[in-house]
Amino acid sequence: MEDTQYVVLKKDRFEEFIAALSSMQKLVAPVAKGFGAYAFEEVTSADPIALNYIPTILPLKKYFMPQRETLLEFTLDRRSHAEAVVEYEPLTIFGAHTCDLAGIQCLNMVFSERPKDYNYLLRKGTITLIGLECNDYCDEYASCHLVHASFPSGGYDLLFTDLGDYFMVHINTVSGDRIVRTAGLCEGAGSAHMNELRSLRDRKRTVFRNEVPIKTKLIPELFDAVFGARVWDNLNERCLACGNCTNVCPTCYCFNIKDELDLTLARGIRYRVWDSCQLEPFARVAGGINFRKERSARQRHRYYRKFRYPVDRFARFFCTGCGRCTRACMADISLKETLSELIKESEERVWKKWL
């Protein structure tokens, strides 16, 4: 495992490294917001960076598909004219956990699928992603192992792993390599370092276990069986349809499109904003019919968009196990509990068939 793809950054050089990163282009990293909450925000030094953080309030999608994003610019005078544009700001993200890297991998698949979304793809090309491996669970809400997101599997330019007094840095792309060279603060990784990385991973394998009692590959089958489950009715009673669970989800990307004129009423933009399948107007059409009137149907749709529908389209789950939906729900609707209840109910059904 002697490998030029790995270098070592001593912790006493971390501050310098961050300063170097921030001098290259705008740098964002997780910072503490109080009350146990974190957010990705711009930093210029290592000081405010929270290396030990639980998933931020909003995931990285806020940089890849901003909350509000211009699609068209137009003028309304006699020769009215409209032009499709993308606005972007070259950016380095430091400290993305493996679940959030997985989230971006999901979005990449969605927006690369035909018809391609160039607003997303062009902006993505200007973002450098530096991951930070989790050595332990963030908290009891995470379920990253269930969906294979507890270990790194690509999707980054550089990956940092904390190994005590140094970071092991995995160089995954040419632009990652360029950063390491430009900063000039890393040293080659020796076999002792590689052994330490290997033993960390071994230890992780004993810590990270499927958080819900089901084999991962059986999840699609589970969802094939529970569309009519009582579990959804129970969520109907509890869910407030606030949309928190989807707004904070790294793989929820639904949006609405709106127009806005400036104060002259002669120029304007067409823009998209994050939208949510949990909200009342989402599936409502003219004439007032709402195709997902019941909150139970909306919650069910959310879960199927994580665990069933993308399996057919993209051959992966669209849950990264980050646990944000559970943390953000004031009605205490928990992803792990819902899955466990679905498993229980499906077992009941199987038994009923046999009795």
């Binding site: 409209a82 067409r270 399948c277 059409v285």
Partner: protein
């Protein structure tokens, strides 16, 4: 913040000019439209476009003319809200933006050579008019053609001149009904399903094309299955909330299907188990 123009953006608009308009009923207006660069829309019957009014918004609207007419196309628009009400105030020579065509229309290659049973409820006649006029343009390529049309009241009848013409033709069978008659009405009264048992079809070589309000589908499908038409040969077009037309925004989803890309026309076999469809 940097900014670049995207040539291939899925949100780019084509300019189009209104050539002709006509009030069909109090709420529905007809538009004939041509693309400004002189190109052809190149749509399939049953596809839709996004009609755009800058500063107001966009609406998905079915193209209601035959693709065989290449230099212009028709829309039939019911005024219900922001975009559609403003569209109703436009006249000949005014400019609009469009994107599309989008989605999968009626599979003309597959249905060619077969008999057709076309069932339209209310505004459902709009997407079906593109199919009907296409079939009439290529009448020799199809077997028997039945058209059943239903609406609430006689004064809500769309394209009444054309319906009248179709009813005169000897190469197709046409029947219509209204839910509530008025004093001048001499025809059938009752919901559209009452017309189905009476049509004489050979189920195995008949494709049914059905478009109407959501409540209509369950009842019509039941009648068609009773007639023995195979599920794969029952074609339905769905309306959902739409924002993007590109299979991304999520608004139009029926379980795992996207109406804007996988539809709006589906065959019954595809969606019969999807409870969100009905």
């Amino acid at each position: 913040m940097e900014k670049v123009v995207i040539k291939d953006s899925g949100y780019r608009l084509k300019k189009a000019t209104i050539l002709r308009t006509k009030n069909l009923t109090r709420n529905e207006k007809f538009f004939e439209i041509a693309l400004k660069d002189g190109s052809s829309l190149d749509h399939e019957p049953g596809q839709f476009i996004m009609v755009s009014l800058l500063g107001i918004g966009e609406s998905p609207i079915s193209v209601c003319s035959s693709p065989s007419r290449r230099d212009s196309f028709d829309l039939c628009i019911r005024a219900v809200g922001k975009v559609t009400r403003r569209l109703h105030t436009l006249k000949k020579g005014d400019e609009i933006g469009i994107r599309g065509p989008y989605g999968r229309g009626f599979p003309v290659n597959i249905i060619t050579g077969n008999d057709l049973l076309i069932i339209a409820g209310g505004l459902g006649i709009a997407p079906l008019r593109s199919l009907i006029t296409y079939v009439l343009d290529n009448r020799r390529d199809f077997g028997k053609v039945h058209i059943l049309f239903g609406c609430k009241e006689p004064k809500e009848m769309l394209f009444s001149d054309e319906l009248e013409q179709w009813s005169q033709r000897t190469d197709l069978h046409y029947a219509c009904t209204v839910d509530r008659a008025d004093p001048e009405w001499a025809g059938n009264v009752g919901v559209i399903t009452t017309l189905i048992p009476g049509v004489d079809i050979e189920p195995l070589r008949t494709f049914a094309a059905v478009v109407g309000p959501p409540v209509m589908y369950t009842f019509v499908i039941k009648e068609l299955l009773k007639k023995g038409i195979p599920k794969r040969q029952i074609l339905l077009s769905f309306e959902r909330n739409m924002a993007c037309g590109n299979g991304k925004c999520g608004h139009c989803q029926i379980q795992n299907l996207y109406v804007c890309q996988d539809g709006p026309v589906f065959n019954y076999e595809q969606i019969k188990n999807l409870s969100e469809a009905f």
